[in-house]
Amino acid sequence: MTELCNIETSKKTNLKSYWPLFLIPLAVVVYVFLEAGVNFLVDNVFRLDKGAHLTESIRFFLYDTPKVLLLLTVIVFVVGIIRSYFSPEKTRKALEGKPLFIGNVMASLLGIVTPFCSCSAIPLFIGFVESGIPLGVTFSFLVAAPMINEVALVLLFGLFGWKTALLYASTGLLIAIISGWVIGKLKVERFVEPWVYEIKAGDFQIEEVKVTFYDRIQAGHTAVVDIVSKVWIYIVAGIAVGATVHGYVPENFMASIMGKEAWWSVPLAVLIGVPLYSNAAGIIPILQALLEKGASLGTALAFMMSVIGLSLPEMIILKKVIKLPLIIIFVSVVATGIMIVGFLFNIIY
């Protein structure tokens, strides 16, 4: 997970309390009554013309914005607490000595929950390699970490339904497992800079400070403050785009270029997506617009995965430790995986 690269910690408030926990049931109650509340507001308080384009756009916006923000806050909080139980050091320990396939599965799963910022990609890479974790397993981790993140999951769940969210998470996981496994089979060790193997990393033992549950709540709270303050604007923009499109733009507007029939739309989406870099929140408004206008789900998902899963900045960072051929192999294997997922979705739906 790469979005925890927050830099503002000095203004951190010390909570020392359980109160955020009690807000979760409250959020659930609000969530349950939200639709009825918005309908009441639109139909009985504003007395808007039922069925009119504008009314339905307003209804959509008023309902979706709080719904998604609420979901986001709760999930980011819970994930923040879960993540406080993990660290790259613990993950490395868990992966040491694991055989290839099992190692790939574990690395992909751990990639989802381990707090990790892409600017730490090199020390992490060296740390893994140095303790004997196979390259293929390391790559599974590096693919899963950015690809599957809670912000993307929440947004897909909130805007497109649980099926899309689940499909996204499971196929993302599969791509991470299989690409890592393939890279492992390709015997690419010779493309790692030789000095990486020469490093004798010191044995680092940070004093185990006792982490209380207060601290974990604090971690969840910090995650909410960091992430929600960064992404809310994209989400509101995305829903606004969705709401406008919802009421006005004719359906199937995009169908001819990004619909199912245009098979080449998937590779094209990936080709455009790989060099682009954005967080999940930034890409959602675009996705929303594409899907509403008739782009097929497979094409849209492939685009999203290639934008958040593969990024130019990360490749440039990794270039310091691995040689160009391996970067190219890495990108092509993952991009191929994304394309297969895109085609599959377009066939199924």
Binding site: C5, N6, I7, T9, S10, K12, S87, P88, E89, R92, P115, F116, C117, C119, S120, I122, P123, L124, I126, G127, F128, E130, W195, I199, K200, A201, G202, D203, F204, I206, I317, K320
Partner: protein, 78 residues
Amino acid sequence: MKIEILGTGCAKCHKLDELVRATVKETGVIAEVNKVDDIKKIMTYGVMTTPALVIDGEVKAAGKIPAKDEIMKWLGGK
């Protein structure tokens, strides 16, 4: 006292560097603050996440920017 900030040049690393320098100034401790950019040197400490804070050869924090009062404690506790 010898303080090292390990980091390959991300935003967080600069932030920690600034914070440590400011804290050192505030407490008035005599300390030499160095920023270590070289990845090989960073790895000799065995950290896997940057930025990391090393005081007199001992890793105090890794992968996060510690709170200011924590840094104060480490500076004063020596």
